[in-house]
Amino acid sequence: MTEEKIYLYPVWVRLWHLFNAILCLTLIITGISMQFSNPKFPLIAFNVSVSIHNIVGILLCLNYLIFFLGNLGTRNGRYYKLIFPGLFSRLMAQFRYYTRGLFKGEPAPYPINSERKFNPLQQLTYVGSMYILVPVIMVTGWALMYPEVIPSRFLWTSGLHLTDLFHILAAFMVSLFMFIHVYFCTIGKTPFSNFKGMINGYHETH
């Protein structure tokens, strides 16, 4: 395969991604600080964490709006289109590549090109994160910011308890995603080529 650079990440995607990373990291750190608050060993003072978390949360929502509208209005949205027939076998093929083929130097089953920005596993996790987990976090986050709108009872328990449980569970999964996401970004032409791509916009094929 010839080595080439594909312009895959337009400026708005790169800017959105950069803000998304900074905002998510800030939210995770302040969130952990509140969840494990301890007056003796505060990671960040509780009231400071609350303020930062609220402001950054609102900024994340605005940033999400850019992503949402950007995907509706530009060709970037097509990368997030899941094609369900044969999805499982494609996922398994990609999983097999990550757990075996990659170590043997086999070619990637779904190489990145201008029509396919994500491999099947990437696509599924990105769609899950951006169209399920992040909206859950945003809706529950707004509700927690205006807790008086949360029903005092919902189904079998306290509405506040349930809202917070969903908020934290979804946030926990996004945190796990970030670990895996950053590691998998090192699987490129070189360990840093994917990171460079998110700065200059070019994906280096290998």
């Binding site: 949205g77 289109k81 917070d164």
Partner: protein, 344 residues
């Protein structure tokens, strides 16, 4: 057609959010109605009395001799000189609401168990106004039957409170616990929000009511909303936390409600004191409720199902351990993968 398929995830999520919003609004409107009803029940002492039959109560007939005048806003009598019927207004503070009294802790008593028998004649003698009113310990002190309520500890805590230190003996148990209305609450009320509303109404009876507040001072009562401006989500805090949780200090763990009301400067103001594992909230009402739910509904429901949720305080030990294990496995998986990649 192809274009439509491209944007399917966005539209599905949009419709899901819309649907969740509709469910939420419907649920909210039903709940807010229930909340208003709860608040009304908690404050019904101030509502006009409904006509009801109280004859099933032990001393209802005898008490009616007093309540036929003291149970309503006006009373009538025949002037022995002019032989004319006179109707007068009853002073508000002398009106006993039958419904509230017959639901109160003291519902089994006759009026003259606590008040002088001389009140049975009308017009009442002038010197009866000087009658000493019994305080809680006059009846409840040193009685085995009431040992679980720890009245002696309550008395000790009260003696050290800001109320007692500022106003000495002028501040009696009656100021907060009207014996004609007081109903044991935290131990019997299953709904923690109702308990909170009931207990906070006791404080607001003076701190939110100028004429009652000025019984002991000439100063105007401070505006509670402005004084608590610093508190984020003020409304939620007022509905979910009792004033006494932050404004008291518990000397003895045996009393359910701390009675040592602190001077305002010593009140809890640090978020972490509630929003942490050693939350001061978990030392009183919330601790009692959590223990109650665990003993009556079992451990699982005690952990998962409860009304008393405080961010940062109600951490679930098992969920925390599970989340750390999952994070550990993810990091371990990444390390193993990276090592194999490097070796190949």
């Amino acid at each position: 057609m192809v274009k439509k398929l491209n944007y399917r995830p966005a539209w599905v999520i949009f419709i899901l959010i819309l649907f969740a919003g509709i469910v939420f609004i419907l649920s909210y409107s039903a709940n807010s109605k229930a909340d208003r009803t709860e608040a009304a029940i908690a404050l019904k002492e101030n509502k006009p009395e409904q006509k009801k039959d109280y004859s099933e109560h032990k001393h209802a007939t005898e008490n009616e001799n007093c309540l036929k005048c003291h149970g309503q806003s006006k009373y009538s009598y025949e002037n022995s000189e002019s032989k004319k019927k006179n109707t007068k207004k009853m002073y508000t503070e002398l009106i006993i609401n039958r419904e509230v009294f017959y639901e109160s802790n003291h519902r089994e008593f006759k009026c003259i168990d606590c008040h002088s028998e001389d009140y049975q004649t009308f017009p009442h003698q002038g010197n009866l106004r000087m009658e000493a009113k019994p305080n809680c310990l006059d009846c409840h002190g040193g009685d085995e039957k009431y040992a679980k309520f720890h009245f002696e500890n309550i008395e000790k805590e009260f003696q050290e409170s800001a109320h007692s230190e500022k106003h000495s003996e002028d501040f009696t148990c009656w100021m907060c616990h009207n014996p004609h209305a007081y109903k044991i609450n935290a131990r019997s009320n299953e709904n923690i929000k109702k308990t909170i509303a009931y207990d906070n109404a006791i404080c607001l009876n003076c701190h939110g009511n100028l004429s009652n507040y000025q019984l002991l001072t000439d100063k105007a009562n401070p505006n509670l909303l402005t004084k608590h401006d610093w508190l984020p989500n003020q409304k939620l805090h007022f509905l979910s936390v009792r004033c006494v949780e932050c404004h008291t200090k518990k000397i003895n763990d045996s009393t359910l409600v701390a009675h040592k009301i602190l001077p305002k400067k010593e009140a809890v103001r640090n978020c972490d004191q509630c929003h942490s594992t050693n939350s001061v909230l978990l030392a009183s009402l919330y601790k009692y409720k959590i223990k109650e739910v665990r003993s009556t509904k079992g451990f699982f429901k005690g952990v998962i199902v409860n009304d008393s949720y405080v961010i940062g305080a109600n951490r679930n030990y098992y969920l925390n351990v599970l989340s750390l294990i999952i994070v550990g496995f993810v990091i371990l998986g990444i390390i193993i993968h990276a090592v194999i990649r490097t070796l190949n």
